[in-house]
Symmetry: C2
Subunit: 349 residues, 2 copies
C-alpha cells in the first residue's frame, strides 16, 4: 500500500531541546518566548490555526459583507468567513486553478499551495515558502510542508492590524496591568498558539532546507514521468504537499489505483457549492472549471516517506488505469489551455 | 518575590514517552490515538480550548438568544457566547460566588473552580476534579490544575450533541470516505486538539494524584492561617489553582503586598459590565455583589512551587497590610453571611 499522505513532523528528539527550554521558562502559552521566536523567524502573528487566523483577520481587511472566494478550495475558506459574519460568494477558478479576477473584496486561495494574486487577503494555508506577498494566512497543520502539529501564522498585516489580531486572539483583552487583567474593548476568542506547538514548528523550521529540497525532488520526479500523460497543476518552483493531476473519470481511476494498493484523495472536491451548508451561498457564474475539477481531479501519493521507486509504481499504475476502460474518450473539460492532452490517446510508458 | 501564579506542567522527560508514541503513530492531530486515550480517561470530547468548546456547545444546549451568565467570571464566558451568536445577560452572584438562580437558559460558572449548580451548561474551566455534573466545559490551559498547555474537554453531552461537536470542531465535515472529504452540513471551525497537547495532558493526568494532593495541602495551609482574618471563598474539598480572599480596599492592599515582594492578582475583576465590549449587554438587577467583588477581591500566591514558609510570609504581610491605613473601617459589602468579619478589627497574628 502506498499512502497518499504521511505527514512529516520533527522527531521527539528534535523537539526535546525546545521542551527543555519550556521547562526552564515555566511559560507554556500566552505569547511565550518560543512563540515570539517563531514569529520572528516566520515574520508574522501566530494563531492556533489558519482557520482561526482567517476568522480574526478577515474583519480587519474586508469592508463589505460579500466576499468572493473560489469554490475550489478546502472548506475552511468558507467556514472561516461564515463564522466571521461574512457572506462568501462562490466563484470559479481560472487556468491557474486559482480564483478568477481577485479584487480587494476577494479572499483568494493558494490552490494546493501554489502562489496566487492575493486579492484583499489570501488563504495561503498550504503555501509556506511559496506565497510572498499580500495579507496571507499560513497553516502549520500536520499535513502542511511546515508543521507545528496545529497552528497558523498571519503575515503581511500592518502594525495596527497585527495589534488587533493579537488582542482578538486573546479574547479581545487589552494588555494587563500588574494587578488586573486588561479590559475587553472588542470581543474576541482564544486563538493563541501554545509554546508546545511553537516548539514543533521551530524544529520543523530547523529541518526546512532539507525537507523542502526533498519535496522539490519528489515534484520533479512526478513531472518527468507524467509529462504528456496528464495535465498537471501550473506551479512555480515551490514547496508542495500534494501532487494533483487531471484525468478523465478521476473517480473511476481512483478506484483502479486503490485496487493496486495505491491510495489517492480528491482534495477540494466536492467543490463548495455541492456542500449542503454552502448550497445557499451566492454564486458567480456557472462554475464550469470547478465542475471539471469535480470530474477530473486526482491527488497522487506525495510525502517524504516515499521512494523514487514508489513514484515509478504510482505513475505506471496510473498510466495503466488511464488506458483501460473509458468508453467516451473525449474531454469536455474547459479548464486547460491544452485540452487535447486530456484524451485517452496517451503515449504508453 | 513570591509570584501569584507559576503554572505547573509535566517535565519534558515526562512528556517524552508520549512524543515517541506520536513518532511511531505518524499521527499528529485530527483525533489521533493520544486524543482518544485522553478522552477516554477524562470522559468527554476534546477541543482546542475551553473557549472554543463553549462556542461550539452553547448552540446545542441553549434554545433562546438571551443566556444568563454571572458578571463575575473570566471574560471568555461572555466572548464565547457572543461569538456563538448569543446575547449574554449579566447577572449577579450569590453567597457562594456563583450565578444566582441558574436555570436552563443560564451558562453557570464554577467560580475559581468551585462546583456549582450547572444551569443549562456550566463554564467549568478551572473545575477539573470538582464539577461532576451538568453539560460542562473544562479548560486544560496552562494555568489550570490539569494542564495540556492549551486545550479543553466537554463532558456531560448526550451522544447526538457529542457527534455534532466533533463535526463542528472539524469544520462541520461529516466523516470522509476513502477518496473524498465528507461534506459540510453545518458550518463549523477548527477546534481540534492536537496529539501534542494530548501528550501534555496525559502526562499531567499521570501526575494528578500527587499534584492535586499538593494543591489541597496549600489550600489547607492558607485556610488555617487566615481563618477569622479574611473572608474566604466557600469551597468544597476540591482542587484549586488560585486562592481568592475578600479584604476591604483590595487594590490598596495589593499595592502594599507588592511593596513587600508579594505578587497578587484580582482575577475576574473588573466584572464584565465594566468592560467596554460588554457595557451594552443587558443586566439583571444592580449586580451589588459583583460591585463588592470589584472592591474587595484579592487572589493570593498559589502554586506548586510555593513552600509552607512562603504561605507564612504571604499571610503575615497580608495581615500587616490589612492593619495599616483604612480610614473608614466599615464594610459595605452585602455579599457575606458574616459581614462582621470584614471590618479591620481583626485578631493580630
Amino acid at each position: 500500500m502506498i499512502k497518499v499522505l504521511v505527514p512529516w513532523a520533527p522527531s521527539a528528539e528534535a523537539i526535546l531541546p525546545y521542551l527543555r527550554e519550556i521547562d526552564a521558562n515555566q511559560w507554556y502559552t500566552n505569547n511565550g518566548p518560543l512563540v515570539k521566536r517563531l514569529e520572528d523567524r516566520m515574520g508574522g502573528v501566530s494563531v492556533s490555526s489558519a482557520t482561526l487566523g482567517l476568522e480574526l483577520a478577515a474583519p480587519l481587511v474586508f469592508r463589505k459583507k460579500r466576499v468572493r472566494i473560489p469554490a475550489f478550495t478546502f472548506v475552511a475558506t468558507a467556514t472561516a468567513l461564515i463564522r466571521a459574519g461574512f457572506e462568501p460568494v462562490l466563484c470559479d477558478i481560472g487556468d491557474d486553478w486559482a480564483l478568477v479576477d481577485p479584487d480587494d473584496e476577494s479572499l483568494a486561495v493558494c490552490p494546493f499551495g501554489a502562489s496566487t494574486e492575493p486579492g484583499g487577503m489570501v488563504d495561503a494555508a498550504a503555501a509556506w515558502g511559496n506565497q510572498h506577498y499580500g495579507a496571507r494566512v499560513f497553516s502549520l497543520h500536520a499535513t502542511k510542508a511546515l508543521s507545528g502539529g496545529e497552528g497558523g501564522m498571519i503575515c503581511g498585516l500592518d502594525e495596527e492590524q497585527e495589534a488587533r489580531v493579537r488582542s482578538l486572539a486573546n479574547f479581545g483583552l487589552q494588555p494587563s496591568t500588574q494587578f488586573e487583567h486588561g479590559v475587553v474593548t472588542e470581543s474576541g476568542t482564544n486563538a493563541k498558539m501554545s509554546e508546545y506547538h511553537a516548539a514543533v514548528a521551530l524544529a520543523s523550521l530547523d529541518a526546512w532546507d532539507e525537507t523542502s529540497a526533498e519535496r522539490k525532488q519528489l515534484e520533479a520526479a512526478y513531472r518527468e514521468r507524467l509529462e504528456g500523460w496528464v495535465e498537471m497543476q501550473p506551479r512555480l518552483n515551490g514547496v508542495y504537499t500534494t501532487f494533483p493531476v487531471l484525468v478523465p473519470q478521476a473517480e473511476r481511476v481512483a478506484f483502479d489505483l486503490a485496487s493496486k494498493g495505491i491510495e489517492t484523495r480528491r482534495w477540494y472536491t466536492p467543490t463548495l457549492e455541492r456542500h449542503p451548508a454552502f448550497a445557499h451561498l451566492e454564486r458567480e457564474g456557472a462554475l464550469a472549471n470547478c465542475r471539471a475539477m469535480n470530474e477530473q481531479l486526482l491527488c497522487l501519493p506525495y510525502h517524504l516517506h516515499m521512494s523514487e521507486s514508489d513514484v515509478d509504481q504510482v505513475c505506471e499504475v496510473l498510466k495503466w488505469a488511464m488506458n483501460r476502460s473509458v468508453t467516451t474518450p473525449t474531454c469536455s473539460r474547459p479548464i486547460t489551455r491544452t485540452a487535447s492532452q486530456c484524451t485517452v490517446d496517451q503515449p504508453r510508458a
